[in-house]
Every structure is written in structure tokens, then in C-alpha cells.
Symmetry: C2
């Protein structure tokens, strides 16, 4: 039986974990986390001002090769602000994958816009840029260079490629869509810190990009996120909007627009700075874990272990087992068997277009995502397993 | 000269701080902050799940006498969710003081509603409930018990009393407004943790109440807030809305409405739990600081030190010097002289109705707030000064 064979393989891979619960992803605190956090508490600067949040932003920019990085309270808030800065207005449509975490869709609604759902492809688990191009050819009309959805009459203002489980999307395809249809790119790189597309860090190729440091991510700040951009003006605006749009003054409290309380606290940034120092080592272990899984599961014909796309380097955030077509009915059996054995696994998110708040949102044919949803299983991915 | 006399009095009060900068408010970490934060890091549960956030909520409920407390990422997010749960809908009007921090107004706009600005009174620095009652008598018409602003045609769905600098608003006046005009109360207690009105904790008297644990507050979690409510259904909804509206399931990711990523991280709650243990001691010191200031400045006829209202107990979050009418032109001179001497002071926030985003919002006569704005100076208020 397939589920039992999988469970036994896990037990073989991790002989020391036989009686231990193996979580899907746990953080690793092996470096200066405690030292910096203590230093932060000792300084009393634990909140919205402090050296750690500035240092964290600098080091994040350096690591990703981004000109600017603005730390936020979480990835969702970073997405919200990035969409606003990308020019998304009320009643616009924003193109997003249906195969994503709900933050991608929610942030579109926070900006007053409507998510328009796109299909994914097998090779990257991210947006199927060829199919999307053909779809847009059909439904988009350019009016003075503004892309309008012919069916709804609404402007399509942005496309949000999400690098699923850390695997980079086919960005060349996204660039072509952006250029030909005049649609702004906001990269949802919440899952892909450390992932490269043609040697460029994910999140640095769109007008804005977004990172997340939630507890289940490659590195964590407890809760946190960041906005990446190469444009100094946008960086300034991002900082302004995430800090209640307060105008700088020696004592006056004046705000020139509706802003947000989205600044990452210094306490959380202190942890993030230490995590960032260890990131190269964590990434190596996660890559190593992929090799271990690939080898251990190589004889299974019922599924493959998701591999980084060609021309890309993945951070292998969440290791993924993708069942071959025809084995869909095995998914729940495998989830039952592994979780019952203390090996935490989970399926894909429920596709966003199927959720109640988005039932009536526009979408293209989503048959590959529909199929992938039935075949994806995420398996334990913590760096300490590699 | 008044400014110099004030500076000299500060130097006399704090002889050991002669060459030290005295901030407006700094946190105090004298208890288990390090211990709990380290325990949190060691457990690896630093993010949205963990024992500290549950314990923090329980202890917060116990301290305030609230049936339920739901920890959030900051006070602004707590206000946003509270307004939604109070039934505020798009295009409604929400009654708020013009003399408040911008979060009060911003959260109204996040809910899609319009802030409607109210005047304050000298005795509490909070809403002038008598003047407001008369104003509402004029502009409100009840249509099947729904309060409609006759001038704008919009529904007035909530009133948000804010306990300014920790001093409780005249809640009896607010209750009468709520009852007679069918307007729901959401208490903005961001500044008043530890403040009581007739022995009831601020934030527990409205349908929902809000706390803040920003770095400048009486206790801090780095960044954080909480929603208080006495209604179990609302508490459940608050938890649901602040955790992306995800339905509980052993592995599925399904969400039944537009939710928010507003959960306080366990790391921040660990700090909060330790801070809460010290809160009674901190409050005592802050009360003591008020006595010190009252005594030291008792001979000044140009201003008074703001005292807790009758029938109320204030947390004395921010100590406040209120200039008598006629001394308005001294405000900036005092701000200049004190800040130049390393004694941090600041004026009132710019009144909200004067800010660009709210210029066209409805408002009553705001002359007391207008006058207070020119006469308020917040002076150093850290617990360690008391």
C-alpha cells in the first residue's frame, strides 16, 4: 500500500525521529537570536524605532540584491502596501494565482480591488504564463495603453506571481505579459527568500516584491514581512505608508494621508537579523533535504518530489510530493497515514476561487490548478532535517 | 520667564538627571521579560501559535475584569476589527473625538466608514457628552431605531470614546447617548490600561474595547494590542477575523470570509506576560509621579497638571500640563525650552479634522478641542521617574 510505503520510507530517512513528532516546518535558532533580542530588551528600544530594524532592512537588501527593503509587521501588510504603491485602485482587477495562500487574495481586497484568478503549471507550480498570455489576448483591450477586461469593463492594474513553496515562477513569461499588456508586476515572494531566477533574487524583478518571516518560513521574526523595491521614491512612500504617514517633525503629530501601523517592531527585527546571518547555512540544509528525499523516494512511480525549475535556484521552503495523475485518490490516504504516524504533512491550500468570498471573482480556465490541488502534499521541510 | 521656570522645576524634581536626556515615555523591563522571551525562543514557538499568547490573553482578561481578551498585532488592528464587529458598514459615519491619535480615524476608514468628529471637554480631555447629546438631538433622526444623520443621509453606527492620556471619559454620558440614539459603543482604551471608571476597567464598558501595547504605552509588547469584549460570540468572531478567518481543520486551509493577519506573535506575548506581572507596580509609580509633579508645579498659576476625573482612577499614562486660557503663546516657547534642555515634551496631536484626509469629514462645533490643542503639553511620564 502506497501510504504505508511512504511512512516506512520517512522512518528509514529519519531513524532518530521514530517516536518524535516531525513538524512540517520549524524554525532554527542556532545563532545570535538570543543575544540580539536581549540586547534589544536591554536598550528598551523594543518597538517601532531602533537599530535592529534599520540593520535588518540593510542586511535584507544586501542579501537579496535589492536596492531597498522596508520591514513590515507581516507579509500580508507588505502585499497590501505594495499593491497600493503599484497603483492598484478601487474596483480594479488584480491577476493572482488561484493556487496560493489566502493573503494574496485578501490583500487585493484590502486595496478595494477584485482578485482575478489564474492557472498554474506543473513545472513550477506557479503561474502558467503561456496560457495566461493567450487568455489575456482574448479578454483584454488596451484603451490608451490601459488594459481593460472586456467582459467586466474593469481595469487590470497588476499581476502578482507567487513563487510557490519557494520555486521561482517563469519570470520571462511574466515580463512579456507585463510589457505587452501594460500590467504592473508585484512579486509575492513570501515563500521564496533565497530563491533565484536566472541569478536574480525573487522579489527584486517586479515593481515591488514582498517577503514573509512568519514562523513557518525559512527564517522568522515571530511575525514579519518586507517590501522590496529598486525605486527610491517607492521605498520612501513604502516607509511613509507603513508608519502612519506621519510627517517628520521634532514634536508635531501630523499625517498627510491615510497610512497604516505596519512597521516591524525592533524586537522582532533583532531576531530577524540573527536569522539572516544563518540563512546561507539554512538554505544549504534545505537543499540537502531535497537530495535526501529525491534519493529515498526515487523508486516511487506514483509521485515525484518537486524539483527546482530549470534556470532557477529554489530555497526549497516546503518540500512537495506531487502525485502523478491517476493517483488522486491516494492523497487523503497518505495525509491520514503520515499524520497518524507523527509525520506532519498537508495538502495544497483550498484553491482561492473556490472560497466563499471569491466565488464570483473572474477567472480563466483553472484546470491545471484544479488537478494540482488534488495531487500536492507538502512534507516535513525544516532545515534541521537536512 | 515661564519656560525657564518650568525647566528649572524639572531640574529640581530630577536632580540626578541633570545631564541625561529624559524621554517622554520609556518602557520598564524589571521582571520576567528576558526569562519568558528566552523560554519562547527555546520552545521555537515564536509566531502565531504558542502558550504565551494564550496566557497573555487570560491574564489580560483577569486584570481588566473582561470576560474575553484577544491579542492583536497592534492597537490599530484591534480597533479595525472592533469596528467591523460592532456592525460598522461601508459609508456609515462613526463618531470619534477630533482630539485623538490618528489610529482612531484611520481604523474607521479601514472599515470603509467616515469619521464624524466630536468635541472634548476640559475636565477629562475626552468627549464632551453633554454638548454631543445636544448636537445629536439636532442632527439625528431615528428611522426604525436606526440613527441617521439628517444632513448627510448616512447611518451613524458607532461612537468611539477615547480615554485621553489615560483619563476616563464620562461614560455615563456615553451610555445615555448610546441608549437614546441607538449608537454602539467601541471604547478606544489604547492609552488607558489600568484606568477605571466607577471601578470598572476602561475598555470593558462598550460592546468592544481596545488596548495598545506599543513601545510608548504603560506596558509594551514591542508592538501589540488587544480586543476586549464581554460577549462570547464576538470574542470568537474576533479571534476568527484576526487569524485570516481560517476554519479549524486537521490539515485543510479553508477560509469562510475576508480575514486579517492580525494575531499577536507568541514572542511579543511572552514579553507582554512579564510586563503584565509588573503592571500594578508600574501604575503605582506613575500615580506617584503625578503627585510629584502636582506638588512641584503647585505654585504655577499659568497651567495645571491634569488630574484624574472625579469617580475615576487614571493610569496617568501621559502626564499633561494644560495651560490656562490666555497663555497659548507660551506653548511653543515651553516646548522649545524643555526639549532644548533634554526634557522631552510634546504638544497635543494635530486635531484630526484638520488633517488633509479628513478635511471634508462631518463635525460638530469643536471649539474646546481647538482651544485644548493650543494649551496641552505632555511631559516626561515614564514609570521609573515615579
Amino acid at each position: 500500500m502506497l501510504p504505508e510505503r511512504i511512512v516506512n520510507t520517512f522512518k528509514h530517512i529519519f531513524p532518530n525521529k521514530k517516536d518524535t513528532f516531525i513538524p512540517l516546518h520549524e524554525p532554527s535558532f542556532q545563532g545570535n537570536e538570543w543575544k540580539y533580542v536581549k540586547e534589544c530588551i536591554d536598550s528598551t528600544f523594543v518597538s517601532s524605532v531602533g537599530k535592529f530594524v534599520d540593520d535588518f532592512e540593510k542586511e535584507l537588501a544586501k542579501f537579496t540584491g535589492s536596492k531597498f527593503a522596508i520591514a513590515t509587521v507581516n507579509g500580508t501588510s507588505a502585499l497590501h502596501i505594495s499593491l497600493l504603491l503599484a497603483g492598484v485602485k478601487e474596483n480594479d482587477e488584480v491577476l493572482i494565482p488561484t493556487l496560493s495562500f489566502i493573503a494574496t487574495a485578501n490583500s487585493v481586497t484590502y486595496a478595494g480591488a477584485i482578485p482575478h484568478f489564474l492557472d498554474s503549471e506543473e513545472s513550477t507550480l506557479g503561474l502558467d504564463t503561456e496560457a495566461i498570455y493567450s487568455y489575456l489576448k482574448e479578454i483584454v483591450v488596451l484603451q490608451s495603453e490601459i488594459p481593460i477586461n472586456k467582459k467586466t469593463g474593469k481595469r487590470i492594474s497588476a499581476i502578482v506571481p507567487m513563487h510557490t513553496f519557494g520555486h521561482p515562477v517563469n519570470m520571462d513569461g511574466i515580463f512579456k505579459i507585463s510589457k505587452d499588456f501594460h500590467i504592473t508586476i508585484v512579486e509575492d515572494s513570501a515563500e521564496s527568500l533565497g530563491s533565484l531566477y536566472l541569478n536574480k533574487h525573487t522579489g527584486t524583478m517586479g515593481k515591488l516584491g514582498v517577503l514573509s518571516f512568519n514562523g513557518n518560513k525559512t527564517i522568522t521574526t515571530g511575525g514579519g514581512g518586507a517590501i522590496l523595491t529598486q525605486d527610491e521614491e517607492l521605498a520612501k512612500k513604502a516607509k511613509h505608508l507603513t508608519t502612519t504617514a506621519k510627517l517628520s517633525h521634532k514634536w508635531e503629530y501630523t499625517h498627510d494621508q491615510i497610512g497604516y501601523n505596519y512597521r516591524m517592531p525592533n524586537l522582532n527585527a533583532a531576531m530577524g537579523l540573527a536569522q539572516l546571518e544563518n540563512l546561507p547555512a539554512l538554505l544549504e540544509k534545505k537543499r540537502n533535504l531535497f537530495s535526501i528525499y529525491s534519493q529515498a523516494f526515487s523508486s516511487f512511480i506514483e509521485f515525484k518530489i518537486q524539483k527546482e525549475p530549470e534556470n532557477s535556484k529554489s530555497n526549497y521552503w516546503l518540500q512537495t510530493l506531487v502525485l502523478e495523475r491517476g493517483f488522486e485518490e491516494q492523497r487523503n490516504l497518505i495525509l491520514e497515514a503520515t499524520n497518524a504516524s507523527g509525520i506532519m504533512t498537508r495538502p495544497s491550500w483550498t484553491l482561492l476561487h473556490k472560497l466563499k468570498p471569491f466565488e464570483n471573482s473572474p477567472c480563466m480556465d483553472l484546470s491545471t490548478a484544479e488537478s494540482l490541488e488534488k495531487r500536492i502534499i507538502n512534507i516535513p521541510s525544516s532545515s534541521n532535517l537536512g
